[in-house]
């Protein structure tokens, strides 16, 4: 079943001359994990914002094509209603904390209160979200007292509690220290395992190689490729798009180690399996 369908999506920011998204089409199945990669200014953030209806509903500008989430056309819906179908997490955990709540528990409630969710249901959802993001122990802490990684997981919990079918994460770890990043990656992996459809923009290419079912390569507002990680990362022209392949792919390329389908391995495990096979 197609969870997300993007058709001929075009978008231009107000006052801008160029298209930030230029005729993008792709579809995502339920439960898939999509990694979005591309150089700076490629339009990755813009794409995330278009999937959640922020472009054009919040950002205005010029818009064409369609984004369908479970058949619902996002550009025609209120952002608040879209939020119950597709959620988004941004880079900076600070700006995502509502700032009006005094505890982690209340913070997760923010979106649910706005949606008018009944109290018993609200509490149940908050408990689940805290559990899933592994921050239940922090429930009574002030959100601003948390570490970066904890705060970002809280931001994710606030989104998850609204029960979207899809979650979009735009470089969720770029402002975190290594430990915080690891916590967040773990959390995202958890969500994916729970069957959530995930789209994640990430510069740490090894993470994409490890988690993603498919990689969406974007450059200058155009969709260059949308394929399995080995396929995308084995492209000879990958570096032209400002992307360095994962380190294992580079090593295998140097050693000319290919898998059965003629592609280079992208993760340590794939590389290792292949090497073991060769040595046998």
């Amino acid at each position: 079943m197609k969870r997300l369908v993007v058709e001929d999506l075009k978008y231009r920011y107000p006052l801008s001359q160029e298209l930030a998204l230029n005729d993008i089409s792709f579809a995502v199945e339920k439960g898939e994990f999509i990694g979005i990669v591309g150089p700076n200014g490629a339009g990755k953030s813009t794409l995330c914002q278009a999937i959640t209806g922020l472009a054009p509903n919040f950002l205005k500008g010029a818009y064409g094509g369609r984004v369908l989430v479970d058949g619902m056309e996002v550009a025609k819906e209120e952002i608040a209603e879209i939020a119950t179908h597709v959620g988004i997490v941004f880079q900076n955990p600070f700006t995502q904390i509502a700032g009006s709540k005094l505890t982690v528990f209340e913070e997760v409630a923010f979106g649910l209160e706005n949606l008018g969710i009944p109290r018993y249901e609200m509490k149940k959802r908050i408990e689940e979200a805290l559990e899933l993001l592994d921050i239940a122990a922090l429930r009574d802490r002030n959100p601003f007292d948390l570490s970066g990684g904890q705060m970002q997981r809280l931001a994710i919990a606030g989104i998850i509690a609204m029960k979207p079918e899809i979650i979009v994460l735009d470089e969720p770890t770029s402002q975190l220290d290594p430990q915080g990043s690891e916590e967040v990656f773990q959390a995202v992996q958890n969500l994916s395992r729970e069957g959530m459809t995930v789209l994640m923009v990430e510069h740490k290419i090894e993470k994409i190689a490890a988690y993603a079912d498919k990689v969406l390569l974007l450059c200058a507002g155009k969709l260059i490729d949308f394929e399995r990680p080995p396929k995308v990362f084995s492209r000879e022209d990958l570096e032209d798009y400002g992307i360095a392949p994962p380190v294992f792919t580079r090593v295998c390329k140097k050693l000319n180690i290919k898998t059965a389908d003629g592609l280079y391995p992208v993760t340590l495990k794939e590389a290792y399996d292949k090497v073991v096979k060769i040595l046998e």
Binding site: K10, Y11, R12, Y13, P14, L15, L19, P56, N57, F58, L59, K60, G61, A62, Y63, G64, G65, G99
Partner: protein
């Protein structure tokens, strides 16, 4: 831009979140003016920026909320002067809209206008609540001198207030203008609620 959108009470989320930022900026301006022992208050930079970015209504709201928060967390009398802050917010919003905030000389002129508005609005409050004084040492000395020489309280109080307001509001507007000029275009645009979505 249409006049209507400028005066709209249908606030965008971006304009609303500008208000807490504005109040915080007011607070920090006041803090640094105190820490550096400057002879100015500099406590309305945020209100001025909010008006410049999002118009008179958001500016006025920032001013009002600023004084309510200050009144409830430090000095209750500041609640009374919410009226002055609202007047400053509205004035700057209109001046900016009329193009009186887009060069240094114009900003200087606007500073004088804002000082006058502020003094005109504050003076009756000063008279009603403080018998005409401002609590500023130099201003109040002049006030004492004037009423000792039988000038009407209205005049004495106005002079007291304007002496404090002229340097303070000019400095405030100039600082705000300098900051405004440094803001990226894509930021200043989001506060304006009016742009339509074009079809591609």
């Amino acid at each position: 831009m249409t006049k209507k959108s400028r005066w709209s009470f249908n606030f965008s989320t971006a304009s609303l979140v500008l208000i807490p930022a504005a109040v915080g900026i007011n607070y920090i301006g006041k803090f640094f003016a105190g820490a550096l022992k400057l002879p100015l208050w500099l406590d309305s930079i945020g209100t001025v920026l909010a008006s410049m970015l999002a118009g008179p209504v958001i500016g006025a709201l920032s001013g009002a909320i600023n004084n309510i928060i200050y009144g409830l967390t430090a000095d209750p009398i500041s609640l009374v002067y919410a009226i002055t802050s609202v007047a400053i917010g509205i004035t700057v919003g209109i001046l900016a809209y009329k193009g009186w905030m887009d060069s240094w000389p114009k900003a200087l002129f606007s500073g004088i206008i804002v000082a006058l508005v502020s003094a005109v609005v504050s003076t009756p409050l000063n008279i009603k609540f403080w018998g005409g004084q401002t609590g500023n040492f130099w201003g109040d000395s002049v006030f004492a001198f004037l009423i000792a020489n039988k000038y009407p309280v209205l005049i004495a109080s106005f002079v007291d207030e304007i002496l404090v307001d002229i340097p303070d509001k000019i400095a405030t507007i100039l600082v705000s203008y300098a900051i405004f000029r440094g803001l990226p275009n894509k930021l200043t645009l989001v506060y304006k609620n009016e742009s339509e979505i074009e079809k591609l």
